[in-house]
C-alpha cells in the first residue's frame, strides 16, 4: 500500500487509494488534520500533532512548529538539550502519519507519495525525500501540491475537457497551477508560486499590529524576545483570524507584567493590513497565465486548495481577480492529500486509474553561469544562461553550446543554477564541475551542456567537449542545505534512539496539554475549574481502568469545551 501524504506547514494529512477512491486516514484523535508540530514531553518522549500544538504555549522551549519553512536549509531547532533539522522534525510528523495509517489499514506501510509546494527548490525537494527516508518511508514520488489538488478535482469533475487554475494558499506557501484536462490526460500547463507566503503570515500581521498598538507603550516591542509570550500571541492571533472570518471585529488579549493588554481590530482594518500580502498573490498568477498563454476568461474553473482559502478575504479577492466565484466542491484542507492518494493509486497501477495519465512541468528554469563580452576582448562572468526554461513538460532534456573565452584555456568551470534572474548571484546555486579542455584560441573550444530533468525533479548535467567527444556527467545530489547519505545514516541512528509517546495514550496527553494551556491563559474561578477537572482526570488515569478513563476523558473535554466556547482544532 502506498500512502499519500500532504506534509503541510500548519497541518499534515494522509490518505490512501482504496476501492477506487481516496480515503482519508484518521489520527489517534480521530481527526484527519494532524498539526505539523513536534515536541518533547516532560519525560523526553516525542509528541506529535495536537498535543504538541497545545504545548507550544506552555512549553515553547520543548516544542517546534512551522519548520517546513526551513526545509533545505541548515537551520536547526532546539528542543530542550537536543537540536533538530527541519527534515528530522518532518520525519517525526511522517512517522506519526505512518503509524496512523498502519493502524487504520492493519498492515505495514513502507512507501509514500509526498506532496511539496510546486515552487519548492531542488534542495527543498531533496530534504523532503530525506524526511521520508528518516521516517522509514520510501518516497515513491514527490508531487506538486496544486497538481495533487487538480488530480483530486479532475477525477471528481468527470467532465471530459476543461481548463482550470488551482489557487493553493496553505499555511506557509502559495502555489498556482494551470491545468488542462482532455481524454484522461491531466496536463499541467504552468506553475508559479511564492515559498514564503501563507496563512501564517496573516497571523504574524495581527501579532505585529498588537505589538504596535498596545505592546510598545508597555515596553513590549520584540515579539520574539520571549517564546512564551510569542506563542500566546500567536494563539490569540489565530483565534482573531478565525473570528474575523465571520464577525466584523475581533480582539486579542495578553497578560503582560501583571496587566491585561487588549486590542480590537475591525474587519476593514485587517483588510487594510493584509494589502501588501494580498498584492503578492498577483505576480505568480500573472506569470502562470502568461506562461500558459491563457487569459483568465479562458479558464473553466478556479479551484481552491489550502486552509487559508477558507478566509473570506481570500475568497473575495479570488472572485475579483478572476471575475467569477471559485469552486469549493472538495474540502480545501483535504484536497491535496486526496490528490496524493490518487497519485499513489496511479503509482500502484490501480485498475480504476488505467485511463488517467498526468504530466507535470518544471516550475523554474535551470541553467549555467556564462561570461558576457562587455568590451572587445573583455569578458565579465556572472550572467545566467537558462538551458531548461521553466514550465516545460517533464521529463525534459535540452542542450546549449558554450565556448571558451580565453586563449589556451585549459579548463571549463561549469556552475549550475536554478531561477529566473539575469544574474546568477540572484539565482539558487545547485552544483559545479570543472572539466579539462584542449587549449585553443579563445572562442574556438566548444562544449555542449545538456540538462536532463526527470519526473521527480532530479537534474542531471552532461558536458561534451565537441573537439574530443569526451563526456562529463554531474548529477546534482548533494547541494548546500541537503544532508549527504552518510549524514542521513547518522540522523537515522539518532532518531531511532528517541522514544515516541505511545500512540494509544495520545488522546489523554492531548487533553492534559490542553488543560495546562488553558490554565495558563485563564484567571480566577475558571482557572480553578480547569485545575480541578485536570487533577480529577489525572487521578483516574492512575487507576488504569480503561472504561473509567474513557468516561473521565469525555467529562474533562466537556468542561474544557464549555470554557472555550467551542472545540478548537
Amino acid at each position: 500500500m502506498i500512502l499519500g501524504i500532504d506534509l503541510g506547514t500548519t497541518n499534515s494529512l494522509a490518505a490512501v487509494w482504496q476501492d477506487g477512491r481516496a480515503v482519508m486516514i484518521p489520527n489517534a484523535l480521530g481527526q484527519t488534520l494532524t498539526p505539523s508540530v513536534v515536541g518533547l514531553d516532560d519525560q523526553g518522549e516525542v509528541l506529535v500533532g495536537q498535543a504538541a500544538r497545545e504545548r507550544l504555549l506552555t512549553h515553547p522551549q520543548l516544542t517546534a512548529s512551522v519548520f517546513k519553512r526551513y526545509m533545505g536549509s541548515n537551520r536547526t531547532e532546539r528542543l530542550g538539550t537536543q537540536s533538530f533539522r527541519a527534515e528530522e522534525l518532518s520525519a517525526l510528523v511522517l512517522k506519526s502519519l505512518k503509524a496512523d495509517a498502519e493502524r487504520f489499514l492493519g498492515q505495514p506501510v513502507e512507501e509514500a507519495v509526498i506532496t511539496v509546494p510546486a515552487y519548492f527548490s531542488d534542495a527543498q525537494r531533496k530534504a523532503t525525500k530525506i524526511a521520508g527516508q528518516l521516517a522509514g518511508l520510501k518516497v515513491e514520488r514527490l508531487v506538486n501540491e496544486p497538481t495533487a489538488a487538480a488530480l483530486a478535482y479532475g477525477l471528481h469533475e468527470g467532465s471530459p475537457e476543461s481548463r482550470f487554475l488551482v489557487f493553493d494558499l496553505g499555511g506557509g506557501t502559495f502555489d498556482i497551477s494551470i491545468l488542462e484536462l482532455f481524454e484522461g490526460v491531466m496536463e499541467v500547463r504552468a506553475s508559479a508560486g511564492d515559498n514564503f507566503l501563507g496563512g501564517e503570515d496573516f497571523s504574524e500581521l495581527l501579532i505585529d499590529g498588537f505589538i504596535e498598538a498596545v505592546g510598545k507603550a508597555r515596553g513590549l516591542s520584540d515579539k520574539q524576545a520571549d517564546a512564551n509570550l510569542y506563542q500566546a500571541l500567536r494563539k490569540q492571533a489565530e483565534q482573531a483570524k478565525r473570528t474575523l472570518s465571520s464577525a466584523e471585529r475581533a480582539s486579542m488579549e495578553l497578560h503582560y507584567q501583571g496587566e491585561l493588554l487588549s486590542w480590537t481590530i475591525s474587519d476593514s482594518e485587517f483588510l487594510q493590513r493584509c494589502e501588501p500580502l494580498l498584492k503578492r498573490l498577483r505576480e505568480p498568477i500573472e506569470r502562470a497565465l502568461r506562461d500558459a498563454r491563457l487569459k483568465a476568461i479562458d479558464l473553466d474553473q478556479i479551484v481552491l486548495a489550502g486552509g487559508a482559502t477558507r478566509k473570506p478575504i481570500i475568497r473575495k479577492l479570488v472572485a475579483k481577480l478572476f471575475g467569477r466565484l471559485p469552486a469549493m466542491n472538495i474540502n480545501p484542507d483535504e484536497v491535496v492529500a486526496q490528490g496524493a492518494a490518487v497519485m499513489a493509486g496511479l503509482k500502484a497501477r490501480d485498475a480504476a486509474l488505467n485511463e488517467v495519465v498526468m504530466t507535470d512541468v518544471a516550475p523554474y528554469s535551470l541553467g549555467i553561469e556564462v561570461s558576457e563580452q562587455t568590451a572587445p576582448g573583455r569578458y565579465q562572468p556572472g550572467f545566467y544562461l537558462p538551458i531548461i526554461e521553466r514550465n516545460l513538460v517533464v521529463p525534459v532534456s535540452r542542450e546549449q553550446v558554450v565556448n571558451t573565452v580565453a586563449d589556451n584555456q585549459t579548463a571549463l568551470h561549469v556552475r549550475i543554477f536554478q531561477g529566473e534572474s539575469r544574474l546568477v548571484k540572484d539565482n539558487i546555486f545547485l552544483g559545479e564541475i570543472t572539466i579539462p579542455v584542449p587549449p585553443k584560441p579563445a572562442g574556438q573550444m566548444a562544449v555542449s551542456v545538456r540538462f536532463t530533468y526527470d519526473v521527480n525533479g532530479l537534474l542531471e548535467a552532461e558536458m561534451t567537449v565537441e573537439a574530443t567527444g569526451e563526456k562529463h556527467r554531474l548529477i546534482i545530489e548533494d547541494n548546500p542545505g541537503v544532508l549527504t547519505p552518510e549524514q542521513v545514516e547518522e540522523r537515522l541512528h539518532a532518531l531511532s534512539k528517541l522514544k515516541i509517546h505511545p500512540r494509544e495514550l495520545l488522546p489523554n496527553a492531548t487533553l492534559l496539554a490542553r488543560a495546562d494551556r488553558m490554565y495558563q491563559q485563564l484567571l480566577g474561578d475558571e482557572r480553578q475549574w480547569v485545575a480541578q477537572a485536570a487533577a480529577q482526570f489525572q487521578a483516574i488515569l492512575e487507576q488504569q481502568d480503561e472504561a473509567a478513563i474513557v468516561k473521565a476523558r469525555e467529562e474533562l473535554k466537556r468542561v474544557l469545551d464549555e470554557l472555550e466556547g467551542e472545540g478548537w482544532l
Binding site: V185, E286, I297, N354
Partner: protein, 283 residues
C-alpha cells in the same frame, strides 16, 4: 528537441489536420502506453511530436477558410423573411463597429430601431425582437473590434448581464465574457484619459493618477489589468517625446522590468518602439 512537420504527424499516426481535438486524442491514446515516469525517452519524443503538431495545426487553421456553420432546420417563412430583412442592417452595424466611428454605429442602431419599430416589437413581437437580439449578440461577441459605447448600449438594451436574463441560463460563459468586456471598456477609457493628460503635458498629474489606478478596484481582475497595461504601453509608444517620468512609474508599478511578455505579444512593434526609447529606464 524540435521536430519537423511530416515527422510529427507520422509519430502521432495522423495525416496533417487543423483539428486540435484530433491531435489531442491521438496524443492521449499514445500517452497511455508511453507514460512519462515509465518511458522518459519515448515520452519526450511523443511530447515533441505533439507540440510540433499543435503548431502545425495552428498554421493550417490560419491558412484555411473558417468552417461553415450549418443552418438550423425547421424555421418558418416569417422567420426567414424577417431575418433576410434584418441581416443587411446587422452586417452594416458590424462593419461600422470595425471600420466606422462609435457615433456612426450608435446612430445606425437608432435608425434600425425606428425602421423596424423595435421598441414596440420588444413588447409585442417576440419573434422579431429575438432575431434582432441574436444579430446584436453576434455583433457584440463575434466582432472583435466593436466599440465600447456600442457594447454598453447593447448590454443595457437587452440586459444580458443582469441576473435572471435568459442568456445567463443558456450561456453563462458569454455573460462572463460580456461582463469582462464592460470592465475592459472602463479600463480603456481610463487609458485614454491618461494619454490625453500626457498630451496636454500634465505628466506629473498623470503619474499620480496612474498610481491611484493601480490600486483601483477596476484593475483587480487579471484580464482587465493585462489589457490596461498593454493599451497603455501602445499609447505611450506613440507619444513623441516619450514621457520619461510617467513611463518610469508605469514600469515600476506594473513590474514591466520583470516580465513584459504580455506587452510584446500584444503588439510587438509598439513594444519595440516603447522599449527602444525606455530601455535606459528599465533597470
Amino acid at each position: 528537441m524540435t521536430m519537423s512537420s511530416p515527422e510529427c504527424w507520422q509519430h502521432l499516426g495522423l495525416t496533417p489536420t487543423p483539428d486540435e481535438r484530433e491531435i489531442k486524442r491521438a496524443y492521449a491514446r499514445l500517452l497511455k502506453t508511453t507514460r512519462p515516469e515509465d518511458d522518459p525517452e519515448g515520452f519526450q519524443i511523443l511530447r515533441s511530436a505533439f507540440e510540433a503538431a499543435l503548431w502545425a495545426a495552428d498554421a493550417l487553421r490560419q491558412a484555411g477558410p473558417a468552417p461553415e456553420v450549418a443552418e438550423a432546420p425547421g424555421r418558418d417563412t416569417r422567420d426567414l423573411n424577417l431575418e433576410a430583412q434584418l441581416r443587411p442592417h446587422i452586417e452594416e452595424l458590424a462593419r461600422l463597429n470595425e471600420q466606422g466611428t462609435s457615433e456612426e454605429a450608435l446612430l445606425a442602431l437608432a435608425e434600425l430601431m425606428v425602421r423596424f419599430d423595435l421598441h414596440t416589437a420588444k413588447q409585442q413581437d417576440a419573434q422579431l425582437w429575438s432575431l434582432f437580439e441574436d444579430g446584436m449578440l453576434w455583433v457584440c461577441c463575434d466582432i472583435a473590434a466593436n466599440h465600447d459605447d456600442f457594447l454598453r448600449e447593447a448590454i443595457a438594451l437587452f440586459g444580458w448581464t443582469e441576473p435572471g436574463n435568459w442568456l445567463a441560463e443558456k450561456d453563462a460563459r458569454t455573460v462572463e465574457w460580456l461582463k469582462l468586456r464592460l470592465k475592459e471598456a472602463d479600463a480603456l477609457s481610463a487609458v485614454d484619459a491618461l494619454l490625453d493628460q500626457l498630451e496636454r503635458g500634465e505628466e506629473g498629474d498623470a503619474s499620480q493618477q496612474l498610481a491611484h489606478l493601480v490600486e483601483d478596484e477596476m484593475l483587480v481582475n487579471v484580464d482587465v489589468r493585462h489589457l490596461f497595461e498593454a493599451e497603455l504601453m501602445v499609447g505611450l509608444s506613440e507619444l513623441e517625446p516619450l514621457p520619461m517620468v510617467f513611463s518610469q512609474r508605469a514600469i515600476e508599478l506594473f513590474g514591466w522590468q520583470r516580465d513584459y511578455r504580455h506587452l510584446h505579444e500584444y503588439h510587438p512593434e509598439a513594444w519595440e518602439r516603447f522599449h527602444g526609447r525606455a530601455e535606459h529606464l528599465v533597470v
